[in-house]
């Protein structure tokens, strides 16, 4: 009988290790609202949506809903999810946004014709989270915009209706439409000397939000599908979040302790 409690304890310890490792992955791969940013040495193939290096960047599903803006159609958007992947090199930040859109709208040649479009907004001052609807006067947003006419623009906004095009932008874009999905890559140097543009430090996470317009539903301006604030995990934190591991470890240790105490109690009762 001497060996059985020891065996039990060993089994418990083993299952504890397994649980600690596996359970966080089963419960959630990463915290909600996180968009992981892959650290890539050479960004040579990140420029296009099909680039080899994108296989290293996990993507996050980001739900969208109507912006509710006070324009006709402001609550009738049609796209309800985008997938966002991100990667960075030492110099550049890349975002790849993809979404299902059965109609490829790349013209605006008729009065009734509008092009598909996507925009990503980040705070100009990344230490404070701006209002989601295009920021505010004292808390502005830097917007990266692309549309189906192959126009890409870097914009500055301080509230709805204030969007202004920033000249001399280093924003680059590339888009692919395949199997009813748009894949749009937007990239820009991490740093920018202008006060109107975000400078990305790799020391901290940066808030990000996404908007998508479906041209064939005449979406434009505030008639668009928007996300909540997410964040680009640019900061130094571990890939997997530490607190979950700690919680599981504490819980497991508690279980082992309780079991051992119980076994010891039984042994004593039996007078062993």
């Amino acid at each position: 009988m001497e060996r059985r409690p020891a065996l039990l304890a060993a089994l418990l310890a083993a299952s504890l290790v397994v649980t600690t490792l596996a359970a966080p992955a089963l419960v959630s791969a990463r915290p909600a609202y996180e968009i992981p940013v892959a650290d890539v040495d050479d960004g040579a193939t990140l420029d296009t949506a099909d680039g080899e290096e994108w296989t290293q960047a996990p993507s996050a599903g980001v739900p969208l809903s109507s912006s509710g803006a006070a324009v006709p159609g402001g609550d009738e958007s049609t796209v309800d999810e985008v997938r966002v992947a991100s990667a960075r090199t030492d110099e550049r930040l890349y975002l790849r946004v993809s979404w299902a859109d059965p109609t490829r709208d790349t013209a605006a040649g008729d009065v009734r014709q509008f092009a598909d479009a996507v925009a990503v907004q980040v705070p100009v001052n990344e230490s404070a989270r701006p209002p989601i609807a295009m920021g505010s006067t004292d808390n502005r947003v830097n917007v990266w915009y692309w549309n189906g006419l192959n126009v890409s623009q870097e914009l500055l906004a301080g509230g709805p209706g204030t969007t202004t095009v920033l000249d001399d932008s280093d924003l680059e874009s590339n888009a692919t439409y395949r199997d009813g999905r748009w894949y749009v890559v937007l990239s820009r140097p991490l740093t920018d000397s202008s006060d109107d543009r975000t400078t990305f430090s790799t020391e901290r996470d940066v808030d990000v939000a996404v908007a998508v317009w479906n041209g064939s539903s005449m979406e434009r301006s505030g008639a668009k599908a928007t996300s909540e604030w997410y964040y680009l995990a640019l900061g130094p934190g571990p890939e997997g979040p530490p607190y979950e591991t700690i919680l599981w470890l504490v819980a497991g240790l508690g279980m082992v302790f309780t079991t051992l105490v119980t076994i010891e109690g039984i042994r004593r009762t039996r007078g062993e």
Partner: protein, 349 residues
Amino acid sequence: MSQTDDGTDVRLADGIDHQVAMVMDLNKCIGCQTCTIACKTNWTDGGGREYMYWNNVETKPGSGYPRDWEEMGGGWDEDGEERTPGELQDKEAYGRAWEFNHEQVMYEGSDEPLRPMEQPDWGPNFDEDEGAGEYPNSYYFYLPRICNHCTHPSCVEACPRSALYKREEDGIVLVDQDRCRGYRYCVEGCPYKKVYYNAMKKTSEKCIFCYPRIEGEGPEGEVLPPSCAEDCPPQLRLVGYLDDEEGPIHKLVNEHEVAVRLHPEYRTEPNVYYIPPFAPPQHSESGESIESERIPRNYLEELFGPDVHEALNTIERERAKVERGEESEVMELLTTTDTTDQYRLEVFD
């Protein structure tokens, strides 16, 4: 709001010092389209503007330009408070800018007549002179239209970027080309369909009331009336400020109330006014004149609202006065050939 001496109200939009305005006498329009061409060659001569007529002349009754614009909504609700969203018409409704066989006829010696390359099926004033009514009592008249530079413009309100604005100094409504991002809410929102989308520039454009001309930006530095007015052969347009108490506009609109607004029910409060059309009375089968108006009053009321009745009655009375050899200020204003009376644009300099 400003009050004039005789107590008639002149409504100016908030923050607007003066309001330019135009009165067009529909009884004089011969449908020659000189105004259309004057405007086109000045402002909309190419570059994505092929289909645009900031000034157009349509035949009424008729579908107009763009086709059926009166059924597309826009403007304000009955109380003039809530905007009613309008429709965005497609380019076909304006009529295509047809390609002609100029090359073949002029340079390649073709014997074909000069004509559009494809069979046209719609265009500005395509239903010219069709009108309505049965022979011998059919009727029609021409309706020249420009942007009305409204006092309560729904195009301005519709723009989420405030790219459209009403100029403080004269109430002219303009599109800021740098702010416009081609959303076209203004095109939807204007019930008169007087904002156009330039697919080449990706911005909206509209009638500017020839502001460089009225500002004296021309070669001689002279103040000139808008081109559509100056070039009109029968000189049916009077131009001035609504709040110029000595001017013909104020007198015709506010004092005598003979100039009325087109579709006042849209509630944008247009600043282009019309002297409603008269036509000869109806004829009987045997060709005799009968005591019945040719253009049905209810049709004119549909176009110009209930005020058209009083306007027509007043003009009729004033005409009778002149026929009796009496003086009539209304008739003098409407028949003057003195351009200093027709165009009073320097009063508020």
